[in-house]
């Protein structure tokens, strides 16, 4: 049985993630859980996250989940979503908080001075809505998804990996930023596949079938 654990640390809309995965993988066992043992025994792990990264790190620690998330990033198909991407890096400008340091790099806020669109229009922050993701390289999770497809974003911070080769997808919004990273068994995205209609469902389906 293909079991996926969606790590529940009290931040974000886990029900939507669970329902979307159930929709694309009806045969899978989908667990929304805060128990480290279930995260450890699952075949696949999804770490969503919404809100402020300092709150997310605090709640993850308070529930004793830090180590099981780090372990999951080392062993099995791992999908990070939004803050679940950001927390993989060393630190964030948001509250000056430290992350899990799975990857080198930091999380930056959209720089106010760069938030100007093509015809001089001010770009709003949060970056909220559907934007294009350019695939930086082929990947199993991009299968059947058009290069430049639009996904739903809602965030004010983005990751800046030390190693540019981590980047699997890029998006333009005032700055050209990393919208997806991939390495070995890890894939993590800034956008919300569970809210990105058909394109997002395709990505989640690819994740559930992924054999890194």
């Amino acid at each position: 049985m293909n079991t996926v654990a969606i790590v529940d640390y009290g931040m974000g809309n886990l029900r939507s993630v669970a329902k979307a995965i159930e929709h694309v993988a009806p045969e899978a066992r989908v667990l929304v859980t805060h128990q480290p043992a279930l995260v450890a025994s699952a075949d696949r792990v999804v770490v969503p996250g919404q809100g402020a990264m300092p709150d997310c790190m605090r709640e993850l620690a308070a529930r004793g989940l830090l180590q099981s998330v780090i372990d999951a990033t080392r062993r099995k198909p791992f999908l990070g979503i939004c803050i679940g991407l950001q927390m993989l890096f060393d630190s964030s400008e948001e509250g000056g908080v430290s992350g899990l340091s799975v990857f080198g790099g930091r999380v930056r806020r959209f720089p106010a001075e760069r938030m100007i669109g093509p015809n001089g229009v001010r770009l709003k922050v949060p970056h909220m809505g559907w934007n294009r993701v350019t695939q930086a390289r082929p990947h199993a999770l991009w299968q059947d998804i058009a290069d430049g497809e639009r996904f739903y974003f809602v965030h004010s911070y983005f990751v800046v990996p030390d190693d540019a080769a981590l980047t699997a997808g890029r998006t333009e919004y005032g700055v050209d930023f990393t919208a997806a990273v991939a390495q070995d068994n890890i894939f993590a995205v800034q956008f919300h596949p569970e809210k990105s209609a058909q394109a997002g469902l395709a990505l989640l389906g690819n994740f559930m079938r992924w054999k890194p």
């Binding site: 939507s16 329902k19 669109g117 709003k124 559907w130």
Partner: protein, 255 residues
């Protein structure tokens, strides 16, 4: 480039979709789940549910509606109406809403916006502003905030209130012109533009859409980040796809 969003709005009364004309004279337009699925299939970028259920006995029905829709429709859902406490926000988010919209409660208790935003994040908090033009002819335009479905004046200037809710932690503003709502003669473009240019957070224009050009004007003239409409979509007059084709032809980025 970020696409401008098209958001069909579903007014929900005791679990059924209705649409008010100037908030009076409601007409039943059907089942929320079916309508949500149809809009998703048409390419809607997001859906907004406004719960207009009056009876407090029926207030929990919206939670079931949200749960059912969120199980089948995988685009962002905003729910507004009847929110009085952070607990109401939480319950809606847990049911599957992505954002919660507050109107009267925000005016009565601005601290609720700050508290909710602090708890669940600004990205989940929408403040709905119902504004009506109060300047005399010949004067520079001024708009005042109204609550209770447009019945109660608050004395608040709409532009100042928009800036204030941004500072309090709103992540988005849903702006409705009470002068235009239900009229089908187009958005109040000067109002939309004044608010959109006054804040750094996204603004959704609402109230008065009667044709596809109105939607495009909301973006090009009104500087809105998203446009919301109900009746032109509910009665099958136009599909969301047609709205997008029209906007694309006007040079607007859409999904």
């Amino acid at each position: 480039m970020l696409a401008k969003r098209i958001i069909p709005c579903l007014d929900v009364n005791a679990g059924r979709v209705v649409k008010g004309v100037n908030f009076v004279g409601l007409r039943d337009a059907g089942d929320p789940v079916e309508i949500a699925r149809r809009y998703d299939a048409q390419g809607a970028d997001e859906l907004t549910f406004l719960d207009i259920t009056a009876s407090s006995d029926d207030r929990d029905i919206i939670l079931h509606v949200v749960e059912q829709v969120a199980e089948q429709v995988f685009i962002p859902l905003t729910v507004g109406g009847g929110i009085r406490a952070v607990e109401d926000v939480r319950r809606l988010l847990n049911a599957g809403a992505d954002k919660v919209s507050m109107n009267t409660a925000a005016v009565q208790s601005p601290q609720l916006v700050a508290e909710a935003s602090g708890k669940v994040g600004a990205q989940c908090i929408v403040v709905a502003i119902d504004a009506k033009c109060v300047s005399a002819e010949g004067e520079p335009a001024r708009w005042q905030v109204f609550t209770h479905g447009g019945r109660k004046p608050t004395g608040l200037d709409a532009i100042e209130w928009a800036r204030r809710v941004q500072a309090l932690g709103a992540g988005e503003i849903l702006l409705t012109s009470m002068d235009r709502d239900g009229t089908r003669i187009g958005f109040d473009l000067p109002l939309t533009r004044a608010i959109a240019d006054a804040v750094d957070i996204p603004v959704i224009a609402s109230g008065g859409v009667g044709n596809l050009a109105h939607l495009a004007d909301g973006v090009t003239e009104g500087h809105a980040d998203a446009v919301l409409a109900a009746s032109i979509f509910h009665y099958g007059e136009f599909t969301v796809g047609q709205a997008k084709d029209f906007m694309r032809a006007r040079g607007i980025e859409v999904r």
